[in-house]
Structures are given as structure tokens and as C-alpha cells.
Symmetry: C2
Subunit: 491 residues, 2 copies
């Protein structure tokens, strides 16, 4: 029996990995059952291992509590069975907050209680572009406000994205046929490096498990191998704290799959994932029934941002509009709105209690469009999105939307803090109804110029605020001492 | 028996009026039945007369065919019964085209076949503001592109509109009570002068028969007097060729009335109106079932202009979005969009085959807001609306919307003429699929700057048009000789 050295130390929410030699013959992906039971005090977590090629089997654990963890392996093959060991889980590293969970029904926070406000972007196939461009994308993300990345496991075949990927997910070739029962470890090790690169930046990897933009056959995996694929992905990646599972992009365009198939994928992932990462599914036109219990949050494609309130009511879950059109100038309607319109939509959704994702599709001489391949951000919206994120980080905990009034959306902690967005409306003045026993400051916010102008004086009770008569303004109204100060929050 | 002099001459679609002395005692509005049968060749039209005060009874006819017309009166009172006479209907005057009718299911034209493109505005209570302001409003309308005016019979009580009207529609007073069985002829004569002022400008009077903004009791007329009121209005005004009947503004805010009441009003107006003027009803939130056969066209309040196609499909009638928010700066969400947004919405609706109305609500030191009182137009949208109207007048007859593609709306006569609107989308280029056996010109239209830039060259088949990368552009694509030229059209 192998034993891990007793001095093994793993940071909380980092990855403990056990590697064991095992059989190479036959098909190690299908012939060998291998898993481990990880024990922390009286809690036991069973985790599936995976074959990593070259006769090496691995199993991973993301410990979520400090202290002594032990494990024992189980396998259908004696050389992988009965291995025991232990490791110590030590305090989380700097900026490590654990996986993101749903919080307060409509919102998110990290496992350690730190708030998380999803301000995501989309680079569907950034991880299929080779080392140089992938490194550039990570640098761009690091310099951006974005803290979530939508990305596909499989390579993508679509407009502006016809290049052959460096790695293929299965053994074989398009010409001679794929062996979908044999995932290629080099492909998945590379995928892990990409996910890990985001993890190091504190960015969530919203990992898309299936998608319809395909010339290799991945969108129509033989049914018998779908579960194999899903189990393999989950076994490898669930230990990454920044993983979110997205069953599909535009699932409704994948005609070979029924709603029951999608239900089964959710169930498989849920059964296999010991950590219950966030799980959702993204639509083109037909919306998946997000009310089903294995869906953690709504992942919507829609440009109808005014419906955020409706979706909150319908699903009683966090609403993330992952795709509301992209800033850019391509000839597709979903990819040619202005930075101004992108920023408007994000403010509009956020002040209704939702979250709205970014994407960018500017024509590029080498077809390096951010939305597909990553690279460099060219648009005007990211800076404004960062400005909004900064404002929200300064808001008190637990803000929730009020009913939209006269077209003005507002998220608030009533009696304490209000962030109103006027969008296309530009009244010459606005009437506030504030508590009479408290004074408030009022800031006029230009969402485009990113300015915050504190108005003179203090406001209380029923009062009038004169506005500069421009559209796309916001108002922030904050109560002065007498109630708690806005909490310092991370997101 | 009185007889009208045989030489009486009336222009086609003008008004012939017969005035007769009759009883003054009792209640002439309820006690006296009076109508006339107008005969043209073998066609007989029965028209209700009305009491105009001071012992005078009148009955009006709008002849729609040239030639000799005769009439005979009928009454419950002998002094009004059995009068006969004749008049000659002569050719219509310059710029007289008759009443507007539904044409080609989704559109309108005048009775003489001239096209009519409704580009309306709203001055709900302009006709309750006294002679000076009313004259100013008419001058403003004359200088504007607008060819339809939404206006209320009854005075209005609402924000920015608290002034007491000069005329009241019924005998009595608010203090002592109204006698709703006695309409005041001076009120209605004044209303007729206002409608006539519009008629002289070629502007349709979209006359709102009931509305909820009221401090006098007009919104809750006793049921027994509702029909009296409707019959009286129709008897007086139906002969004005520019009348459209709007049963209500925001009918759903009038809680005392049921859907059956609204149905009955429609039926009453339909029964009483010999000329079957266009009839509709305007909503706040709950939409009246516009499919009912007495509704000639949809009169919608909505800012969801992308639904125009849906409403066309649902109702199979012309769709007029009479209210999609107003250009202005008041604190109400429906009254503070920019001129840019107003113009955007109108283009968006029109290029989907609908029609979209204008309104204006700028704060004014004396509360003279166009939407309520008329006066002077201050906004930036009317000029652009006129520009769009001019483009449509230059379009061939029978354009219809194509399915929206990539967010781009388009109204077209396929193979001949296309007017596309890009709205918030600003692709760097656009791909056209044109017939290969014809050449086309392409114009890039800046909907705000009102410029039409003819691109160099001729376009045919599948081709690409480079665009300037701005939002709110339109493209006009017109076929060159080989098919008919765009018709010169009036609207």
C-alpha cells in the first residue's frame, strides 16, 4: 500500500491529488473503476478518480475544512484498491475564498462568506488557441473587471473560428474516426491549465460541457459515451474551486438531444460532483425550465433586460443574463451593439437584481475576436463595467431591487441605500421619498463618463433632486450615520 | 315644407348641413327624435340630427359621391318632419381625399385612393385651452410633419393640466351638479371648430370619447346618459372627414366600466356613424381585444416596439402604437425620453410594418406641455419624424415588413425596394441578397442627421455593403429601371 507522506499540506479549497500506477492495457477509461473516500472527521466524501494516461491514475480532493483529512481508495483492480493516506488542510491562501454558492436566493457568495458579484465575459474557445494567445487572454482578463469566464470544453467551429485546435479531446482523428471511449489526457491537462490560470486570477470558469458549433462530431456523441465524458470531466475538474458547470451553450440548437437528455446530464454531473458546483444551462431561443432543482441559477440569453424581474419571480433563483448581445461590429445582430448599449444593458439588469455578462465581437484582421478566441479587449464597455462593479462593491450587503417606477430601476437596502438607474429616461428632476428620521447624501452618476457628483446638502423625507437632463444617469442615495456604514465587500 | 335651394353645392367629403327650427321646450336632447334620409341614386343613408340650442335642429351629411343628393327628414315632432331638399356634390377641393380607411389589411389610405401614413402626435386637451393657445397649436401642427392628432372630447384633469376649461360639455356646474342629459351646444361647436381646424390642415382628429383624467364626473357618466352622449357626438362630428373614433384613452384605468361597456360603446358608435370612420381604443396596461370586428386598427400603448410584428400577426389589422413614451423631461417614465430615443422607436416600429405616434412633454414655466395643451413644439424628434415620413412617401406602394434578421428590421417590396433599420446594431458591413437580374442603388441613411448618402456603384445578387459603424443607421436599397419606379405617393 502506498501512503502519502503525513506532512502533506493542502490549503483550504486547493487541490489534493493522489497519483497511483495502474493498468495500461485494455481501455483504462472504461475497464477500471477507481475512486477514493476522503474523510474529514465524521464526513465522508466519495470521489471518482480518472486515468491520466501512461499508466497513471489520479484522484483529487478539494478540502473545504481545516484539519486532518484521510482517504482510502477503492478499485475494481487490486493495484489501485485500498491505498490509504492523509493530508492536512491548512488555512486558505490569500484571496482564496472557496467555490461560489448561491446566497440569499438571488445572489452569490464564496464559501467563506465573501460576497461574489458575477461580472462575467465570454471567450468561448480561448482555450483552443495555442499557448501565446491563451497567455495573452489571461493577461487581458487579469487587467479587466471580469470575474467569470464562459468557455467551452470542446473546440468550436463557427464564424471567425475555423482554425484547428492544438488538442483534441478524444483519441483518433476526424478522417479515421474518433474513439469517444478514450479521452485524451493531454487535452484535459491543457484544459486544466486554462482553468487553473483563471483560478489564479480569482476568475470563475463557467465551463460549457456541450455546444452546437462543431465539425468534429462532439455535439452528437454516441449516447453510451456521453456519461463517460461527463464523468471524466467532473472527475478531473470538480476539485477546481472556480468551476461552474454549464450543461450547454444554446442547448436548444442541439437537435439530437431531448429535454430528458439535458435533465440526465444535469443529474450525472450532480451525482459525480462532490462539491456541488453551480450548474446551469444556456439557451438560444427556447429556455430550459430553470425551475428544476438541479439548476442553481438562471443562465439566460436575452436582450430583453426588462424581464429580469419576471425571471426572478418565475424561477426564484439568481438571474444571470450571460448573453445580451456583445459590443462589436460584426454583421450578426447579437454581436454589434455599441459599448454604450452594452453598458446600458448591464446597468439595466443589475439594478433589477440580476447579473449581466459582457462579450466583445470586433472584427479583427486575423479573426481574433474576444468572444471566441480571447486576445486583447478593444471595446469601450469594460472600463464602465468595472466602474459599476466598484459601485456595487461599495454598496451594503443585501441590496435587493425595488419595483421599477416610471421606468427607473432601483436596487436598494430600504431606508439606507438606493442605487437607481434611469436608462433612456432623463427627467429634469426626480422625487425621492426617504425616511424622515435620517439624512441622506445624493450622488449623480454618469454611467458612461464614470463620474460621481455628490450634490450639495442633505436629503430627507419627500424631496426633489434636480438632474442634468441626460439619459443613462444613475442616482446613489446613501444614509448618513445613524445606521450601519456600507460594509467593505469583495466581489 | 322647407326646401334647400336647388343650387346648393357641396364639395365631395365636405359637409352639407340642414338647419331647421324646432321645439325649445322640455328637453330637446331627449324628447325629440330627428333624423334625415340622404339619398344618392339608389343608396339611402339615414343620419341622426342633433339639437344645437336656441330652437335650432341640424343634420349633417358628408357626401362621398359627385352628383345630385336628396334628403327627407323624419321626426317625432311635426315641425321637423317631412322636410325635403337636394344638393349637388361637386368634385373634392384641393387636398381633399376623403376619410381614411384601412387598406391592404395593415395600412391605410384615403377614400380617393391616396395613401395615408399615420404619423400622429398627441395634444390631449389642446382644445380646452382658449382661443390664443388653440390657434398657436394649429400653427405648430401646420408646420410639423404630423398628420394625426390624438385629442379628448372632455376636458382633462391631470398633472400639468389643472386649469379650468373655457367650455363645459354639459349644462350645470360641478358645485350644483351636471345635467348629463343636456349637452352644451357651445362646447360642441367649439370642439367642431377645433376638429375643423385640423381638417383644414389635412390632419386626422383621433377623437377620444372617454378618458379617466377627470375631476368633473365625465369618466363616470350615468349609464343611461352614455348613449345619449355618444349619439350626440357622432351626430355632430361624423360628417367631418378627418374624424377617427377612439373609444378611450387608457380604458383600463376607468374602473367603473366593464369590457361589455366598451363593446357597447363601439357598437353604438358603429350604429350611429353613417361613414364608418376608423375606430379603436387605447390601453394603459390591459389591452382591449382588438380582434373584435368593430375595431378597425390597433391603437397600442407600449414601449415594446419589437412586438409590432407580433401584434400584426395577432390582430391582422393595422398596428398604430399611439404611445411609446414621449420626448421630454418630466418625472414620469412615459414622458422623459430623448428625441433620439423617440426617433429610434418610430423607426423601429415603422420598419416592422407598424405606425408609431409622437408626443412631447418638456417642462414649461406655465405648464404648457405639448402632450396636454399643445402650444409650441420644443423637441428634436419632429424634424426627424418628418424626414422618415418623406422617405416613406418616396417608397413604392405596398411595402411590407420582412422577418427581422439579426436585429435589423426591414420593410420592403421584395426585389424592388428595401428600407432597413439597424437601431442599436452597428455592423461594420452588411450582406445583401438581391435579385441577380437587377441592379440596385444603396443609400446609407443617418436617421438623426437626416442625411442620405448614395454609395458608389451598383449592387446586385449577394453583395456586401460597408457601413460607417454607427448605431441608428438605415439602408435604402432601390432597384434601377427594369421594374416600375417608386410611385409618387401622398401620405
Amino acid at each position: 500500500m502506498n501512503e502519502t507522506p503525513a506532512e502533506a499540506r493542502v490549503g483550504r479549497w486547493d487541490i489534493f491529488e493522489l497519483a497511483l500506477p495502474g493498468p495500461e492495457g485494455g481501455n483504462p477509461f472504461t475497464d477500471v473503476e477507481f475512486f477514493a473516500d476522503f474523510r474529514f472527521r465524521n464526513r465522508l466524501t466519495r470521489v471518482r478518480g480518472f486515468y491520466d494516461g501512461d499508466g497513471v491514475y489520479k484522484v483529487r480532493c478539494m478540502p473545504d475544512a481545516e484539519g486532518e483529512w484521510t482517504y482510502v481508495t477503492h478499485s475494481s483492480r487490486p493495484e489501485l484498491d485500498g491505498h490509504t493516506g492523509a493530508f492536512g488542510c491548512v488555512p486558505a491562501g490569500a484571496n482564496v475564498h472557496g467555490p461560489v454558492r448561491v446566497h440569499n436566493r438571488f445572489h452569490f457568495q464564496y464559501a467563506d462568506g465573501a460576497p461574489y458579484l458575477p461580472f462575467g465575459t465570454t471567450c468561448y474557445a480561448w482555450n483552443h488557441q495555442g499557448a501565446a494567445l491563451e497567455a495573452e487572454t489571461l493577461r487581458s482578463v487579469a487587467a479587466s473587471p471580469f470575474n467569470k469566464m464562459r468557455m467551452c470544453v470542446f473546440p468550436k467551429h463557427y464564424d471567425f473560428n475555423r482554425n484547428e485546435p492544438e488538442f483534441h479531446p478524444f483519441e483518433g482523428s476526424l478522417a479515421d474516426g474518433w474513439d469517444f471511449t478514450r479521452p485524451r489526457p493531454d487535452f484535459f491537462r491543457h484544459l486544466e491549465r486554462c482553468v487553473d490560470g483563471l483560478r489564479g486570477l480569482g476568475v470563475q470558469a463557467d465551463l460549457i460541457l456541450f455546444h452546437p458549433y462543431d465539425r468534429w462530431g462532439y455535439k452528437d456523441l454516441p449516447r453510451a459515451t456521453e456519461d463517460l465524458y461527463l464523468r471524466y470531466v467532473v472527475a478531473r475538474l470538480a476539485a477546481y474551486r472556480n468551476i461552474w458547470w454549464s450543461m450547454a451553450n444554446e442547448f436548444d440548437l442541439m437537435r439530437s438531444k431531448s429535454l430528458a437528455d439535458w435533465d440526465r446530464y444535469f443529474q450525472t454531473v450532480q451525482e459525480e460532483d462532490p462539491y456541488h458546483h453551480l450548474s446551469s444551462i444556456h439557451n438560444c431561443r427556447d429556455v430550459y425550465p430553470h425551475g428544476r432543482h438541479w439548476v442553481s441559477h438562471v443562465s439566460m440569453q436575452s436582450s430583453e433586460l426588462h424581464r429580469v424581474a419576471e425571471w426572478r419571480t418565475a424561477y426564484r433563483k439568481p438571474v444571470v443574463v450571460d448573453e445580451c448581445c456583445y459590443e462589436g461590429n460584426i454583421h450578426r445582430g447579437w454581436g454589434n451593439i455599441t459599448g454604450e448599449e452594452m453598458v446600458h444593458r448591464i446597468w439595466h439588469g443589475v439594478t433589477q437584481g440580476g447579473y449581466v455578462g459582457h462579450g466583445e465581437t470586433y472584427l479583427h484582421p486575423e479573426d481574433v475576436l474576444w468572444w471566441a478566441k480571447g486576445g486583447v479587449l478593444h471595446g469601450t464597455s469594460p472600463a464602465r463595467i468595472g466602474f459599476l462593479l466598484g459601485l456595487l462593491r461599495g454598496a451594503p450587503h443585501g441590496i435587493e431591487p425595488l419595483a421599477t417606477r416610471s421606468g427607473v430601476t432601483c436596487t436598494a437596502r430600504e431606508g439606507e441605500y438606493y442605487l437607481m438607474y434611469f436608462g433612456v429616461h432623463r427627467p429634469a428632476y426626480w422625487l425621492l421619498t426617504l425616511p424622515e428620521d435620517r439624512e441622506f447624501t445624493v450622488d449623480v452618476i454618469d454611467t458612461w463618463k464614470m463620474t460621481v457628483d455628490r450634490l450639495a446638502g442633505r436629503y430627507t423625507g419627500s424631496c426633489r433632486v434636480d438632474l442634468p437632463g441626460m439619459s443613462h444617469l444613475a442616482l446613489r442615495v446613501m444614509g448618513l450615520a445613524g445606521a450601519q456604514e456600507p460594509a467593505a465587500a469583495r466581489g
